[in-house]
Amino acid sequence: MAGVADDDDRVFRALADPTRRHLLDRLFEREGRTLTELESELEMTRFGVMKHLRVLEDAGLVVTRRSGREKLHYLNPVPIRLIHDRWIDKYTERQVSALVDLKRRSEAELEDSA
């Protein structure tokens, strides 16, 4: 399962940077953008934007497609979804079951005192 851990590491590392999160937000608003478009919205060199896009692409969060002479960038939300399904659901489930336990216990106490 080392592969899974590596994949998750890459996603978390990619998301740990505010510029990269900003890039993902831009792609969420409108899909299929060119490097030039993305660059025009950031106070950063073309090379800097390229570097960040590469990290996002390596983590699977950005997928590129060729359209004629242009390379278009798309947000791929699936790695975030997988982390959600694997981690977030697990912990929220425990919170819910803790609440259910609490409810059961207080109901049992009520019955005992009745």
């Binding site: 994949d7 899909e31 699977g60 497609r65 798309y74 791929n76 699936v78 979804r81 997988l82 399904d85």
Partner: protein, 167 residues
């Protein structure tokens, strides 16, 4: 500033790596024996030839909530098993999606050396903002689920562990 002349070419791309051979992933997508067992659990029929029909049938639960019998329909445009499937895709989830133009869906499967498959789902949703919103999962769990991201994530879980989250 955006103007009215701005083109509304909306394409969504979803990519997932599944630890299963391409043929197995292909079957999980196109075979009604498998495609009703993950995601929304809607059984889907593919007449696997160019010009063949595609239909997604509403589950009993969906019917109770007023969904039509045929939830989505379409036609197969390109077919290269188990690598590539291009189809039209028209949803009848509600009045808004029913009124929208037919969209185009491409399934691409690339089997890697370790027997795992890269699956890319490309959904071209030009002129169909309502459909685009649903398949992007904008409604959240209360509004009908998580769209393609959730479906392909569940497909991965289904093929890798044999059980789906949606079940």
């Amino acid at each position: 500033m955006t103007t009215a002349t701005e083109t509304t070419v909306t394409t969504q791309v979803y990519r997932v790596y599944i630890n299963a051979p391409a043929l197995k992933v292909w079957d999980a997508i196109t075979d009604p024996e498998w495609n009703g067992r993950y995601g929304y659990h809607a059984r889907q029929e593919y007449d696997l030839r160019v010009g063949g029909a595609y239909r997604a049938l509403a589950t009993a639960e969906m019917r109770e909530f007023g969904a039509p019998e045929v939830l989505i329909d379409g036609e197969i445009l390109e077919l290269d098993p188990p690598r590539r499937l291009v189809q039209t895709w028209h949803a009848y989830f509600d009045e808004a999606t029913t009124a929208e133009p037919t969209t185009r869906l491409t399934w691409e499967l690339h089997e890697g050396d370790a027997g795992s498959t890269e699956l890319t789902v490309t959904h071209e949703l030009t002129g169909a903002p309502g459909t685009a919103s649903v398949v992007r999962g904008d409604g959240g769990p209360g509004g009908g689920g998580g769209g393609w991201a959730w479906i392909v994530s569940d497909l991965k879980t289904f093929l890798e562990t044999g059980s789906a989250i949606g079940s």
